[in-house]
């Protein structure tokens, strides 16, 4: 396959950045998208040009480190992670536009690499059950209906890649935040801190500068793990209930 790659290049956060086009040849349909990027980088390095920087690690769709906005969609044309996207999804001669995730809360570090530490701070605000190591009850002392456990699991499969923010026209982080709030709100272990958690995590989400949800559903449609919009509704419920019923004045 012969392709033209229109890649966002930006030396660092202070740099203005812009698109650079690279023709590339000899791409096999069996390559993953990131392997195609590897080929480009090998060629650039051989020519003495700075290779294109992008985040990636496990390359099996689970660590959530890869990103890339490909041809107008986060993680490209398929509902999967960029590392699991293969070149057979593209046609010979195509021009592929590759951009970083765009959000105020995800500043560009270099080229296609962005800083997603805002997600970590949202979790730090309350995305946990406060138990210390040791001294916990036997695992089977907390029975959980299978359906609840499965639903909590579905919410817990979020990989924190940020595609929801990238897809949302408002760069909103509600799907990410709601997935964690949902998981813990459904499980008995999460009940003790349930209300505080919702208030704190949402306050942090706002402080990071993410946009508001307009219920377009783009986040769920693009989520590589299929996290559902139900979680956002549940988060809203959790938050309003917490606001009205807690004694935090």
């Amino acid at each position: 396959m012969k392709l033209t790659l229109k890649v966002w290049r930006q030396k660092n956060n202070a740099d203005k950045g812009g698109f650079v086009s690279y023709p590339i040849d000899g791409i096999s349909k069996d390559m993953s998208f990131l392997e195609m990027m590897d080929v480009l980088n090998e060629q650039l390095t051989e020519k003495g040009e700075d290779p294109v920087h992008f985040d990636h690690d496990c390359r099996e769709g689970i660590c959530g480190m890869c990103s890339l906005h490909i041809n107008g969609k986060p993680h490209g044309p398929q509902q999967t992670t960029t590392c699991q996207l293969h070149m057979r999804s593209f046609s010979d001669g195509e021009t592929i536009t590759i951009e970083p995730w765009r959000a105020k809360a995800f500043p560009v570090v270099k080229d296609l690499v962005v800083d997603r530490s805002a997600f970590d701070r949202i979790i730090q605000a309350g995305g946990y059950v406060s138990v210390n190591t040791g001294g916990v009850p036997d695992a089977n002392e907390i029975p959980i209906p299978k359906k609840i456990a499965d639903e909590a699991f579905d919410a817990a499969t979020c990989i924190g890649c940020g595609a929801c923010v990238a897809a949302c026209k408002n760069a909103s982080a509600m799907l990410f935040t709601s997935a964690k709030i949902s998981q813990l709100a459904m499980l008995p272990q999460g009940q003790v801190e349930r209300k505080d958690r919702a208030e704190k995590m949402i306050a942090q989400m706002d402080a990071e500068g993410f946009g508001a949800c307009t219920n377009t559903g783009a986040c769920a449609a693009e989520c590589p793990k299929g996290i559902s919009l139900t979680n956002i509704a549940r988060m809203n419920r959790e938050y309003f209930t917490a606001a009205v019923t807690t004694e935090n004045v």
């Binding site: 690690d57 099996e60 660590c63 979790i123 190591t133 009850p137 907390i142």
Partner: protein
């Protein structure tokens, strides 16, 4: 130096309890006076950092990824073992201990493995309390499955994403301590060196991957939780960033490296599709429960297949060789990982490989689908089939899957004693980074167990014992040893950047990987190892003369990061060769062709090789020195594994 494993005396079942009592404690009010560095935030690192911070120590946690949640523990699929005996099927701590020792082909320490089995039950309790959504039965209690050929159902799982759920649990505990101010997080930061003062580890040197800043961090103890070194093979199921650098720098500062040649090669991975391949993807070995492994009976037929003249489904039953079922009638397709892997290699070496590269065998579900129906098979393996189709573009419901073994886990690592202390006092190694619990072969669902056992339940005790002994006098990074280390790190960076050669880092990494895979992979010979050693030396020389690293240090520079890691792999590779050469027996994942039974099975030499090979670094260009820690078995009888 005599290697003292510090296994406590007394009956096996009482060792850990007694040891916990005998260890010194740090006064609760004094805990805040101690600083602990944790490198790596996978299962071992995140659980250790969180647990130590909960106790009151000041923790600094480092990872090279953009977030602690990315660590490669996240990719583990199958599950985590624990001797809960919830299924009433005869499991016990002793049985888990016994299975692990036997599975490791009797090359692990009894004391460590027993402790692992003992604390395994606490891990499940801990994770459930954190909100990890394990699979459950309709009654609301936890579900278990049998995994990796075990005869009891002791594996806890969260669909095919157990590693992810456990890691996110540990990450949430870690995040809580970050919020509490007890853990300071350093993402996108790579450890470059360990700093030793008066023989004790007292800190590390790091590189900020965004700015290139070289920084020093002092602490009373340093924990390396940096995972395995499978990426020395270039192609492995490890994450792209997984590396040996932290462990290797520690090794060069005096920490012994144990059993580096013990590598686990997983039989059910998706085959290499071409030279562009950057990593390999594993599919759960549960596939072998229903899939039948085969290749054509003749080389001619295989050739036609490779040329695309015929398709797999065209090959008649009598021209198919179900070689595992033929050779191992009682275990069939369910033989252990090392046996399945080696046999795939044999048939491909004979020229019967089935894909273009000749390095693949079929894993066929045709008969299972005929027997149970497509829906049943979809319910069991749907996500794996989808993943296969996503990567290969082929529909495994209609054509047989193609699989080939790939490097998956490294049992070797930094030598540690019962306290997880390396040979440098104050420097600890946890999880896959150490060598301690899996012997020559790791059982399925045991890696997650070990990482969390080390982090949650072992290190909080043992590091406390050390800290209580050294006292809480403050440490700081003003000592000249820190500056000396910084100088060395800077020199190395400048050297890498100034070579300006003609070959990319990946060129060297791929070449190294080929040498390692061919000569130190599934089957090894003295002859091949000798050649490999010479080849690696030459490659390393070429690297330092001709590598091309662009850009500068003071920026995000992924080529420079990679160059550091590959430079270390080029040294580790040689040590793995030395270790494989030295071990003149076959055991677990280490198969020396010279040492096999007449049926082609691994032939151990318990008389001469029932020891841990721990290697001491002596200096640039010098052969490493071998130290032996004899393995004593008081509770199990050493037997030959047989799967006929």
């Amino acid at each position: 130096m005599i290697l003292d494993s510090k296994i406590p005396a007394g009956p096996l079942a009482e060792k850990w309890t007694k040891h916990k009592f005998n260890m010194k404690l740090v006064n609760p009010a004094n805990k805040r006076k101690y600083d602990v560095i944790v490198v790596g935030t996978g299962l071992a690192g995140a659980s250790a950092a969180a647990s130590l911070a909960e106790l009151g120590y000041n923790v600094k946690a480092f990872c090279f990824q953009d977030s602690p949640r990315r660590a490669h523990s996240i990719a583990a699929q199958g599950g985590i073992n624990a001797a809960k005996n919830y299924q009433n099927d005869g499991d016990s701590v002793f049985r888990l201990f016994y299975d692990t020792i036997k599975g490791g082909d009797y090359r692990a320490r009894e004391g460590n493995v027993y402790r692992l089995a003992e604390v395994s039950v606490n891990i499940i309790d801990q994770c459930v309390a954190q909100g990890v959504p394990f699979a459950r039965e309709y009654g609301g209690l936890l579900a278990n499955r049998s995994f990796g050929g075990a005869q009891v159902s002791r594996t806890f799982y969260a669909r095919g994403q157990t590693g992810q759920q456990l890691l996110l649990g540990a990450y949430s505990a870690l995040s809580r301590q970050v919020a509490n101010g007890k853990v300071k997080l350093y993402p996108r930061t790579e450890m470059m060196d360990v700093v030793k003062i008066d023989g004790h580890a007292r800190g590390i040197i790091t590189r900020n991957l965004i700015t290139g800043a070289i920084e020093k961090h002092a602490a009373h103890a340093v924990l390396l939780c940096t995972g395995g070194y499978g990426n020395v093979f270039f192609l492995s199921t490890n994450a792209m960033g997984s590396n040996v650098t932290a462990a290797w720098r520690a090794h060069k500062r005096g920490a012994y490296f144990a059993n580096p040649c013990y590598t686990q090669i997983h039989p059910t991975c998706i085959p290499v599709s071409g030279d562009h391949q950057s990593k390999l993807t594993l599919m759960s070995e549960s596939l072998r429960n229903d899939g039948r492994v085969w290749v054509p009976s003749t080389v001619e037929m295989a050739e036609k297949l490779r040329k695309g003249q015929i398709k797999a489904n065209d090959i008649p039953e009598n021209e198919r060789d179900y070689y595992l079922e033929r050779k191992y009638p009682s275990f069939g397709n369910l033989v252990p990982r090392d046996v399945a892997s080696r046999n795939a290699k044999y048939v491909c070496d004979e020229g019967r490989g089935v894909n273009e590269t000749g390095e693949a065998v079929f894993l066929d579900f045709r008969d299972a689908i005929k027997r149970d129906g497509e829906d049943t098979i979809r319910a069991r393996y749907g996500n794996l089939f989808d993943m296969y189709q996503q990567i290969t573009g082929e529909n495994p419901y209609q054509v047989p899957m193609m699989i080939y073994p790939a490097v998956h886990y490294t049992m070797g690592g930094l030598w540690v004693d019962y306290n997880l202390s390396t040979t440098i006092p104050g420097l600890y190694a946890l999880g896959e980074a150490n060598f301690s619990d899996h012997g020559a072969n790791r059982l399925g669902a045991s890696a997650l167990m070990q990482g969390l056992a080390d982090g949650y339940f072992v290190i909080p005790y043992t590091v406390g014992d050390y800290l209580a002994q050294i006292g809480p006098s403050p440490v700081n990074a003003d000592h000249p040893e820190f500056d000396k280390s910084i100088q060395e790190v800077n020199d190395r960076i400048q050297k890498l950047l100034s070579i300006k050669g003609s070959r990319t880092v990946d060129y060297f990494h791929k070449k190294l990987g080929k040498i390692m895979w061919n000569e130190c992979g599934m089957a090894r010979t003295a002859e091949g190892l000798k050649q490999a050693k010479a080849d690696i030396k030459a490659l390393r020389e070429e690297f330092w003369k001709d590598v091309k690293v662009l850009g500068e240090n003071e920026e995000l520079n992924q080529s420079l990061e990679k160059a550091h890691r590959v430079a270390d792999f080029l040294e580790l590779g040689e040590l793995m060769i030395d270790d494989a050469f030295n071990r003149e027996e076959s055991c677990g994942g280490h198969f020396r062709e010279e040492y096999q039974t007449p049926e082609g099975e691994a032939l151990r030499d318990d008389e001469n090789f029932a020891y841990v090979a721990a290697w001491k670094y002596l200096g640039e260009g010098q052969e490493e020195e071998l130290h032996k820690e004899p393995l004593e078995f008081e509770n199990v009888k050493l037997t030959q594994r047989s799967y006929k």
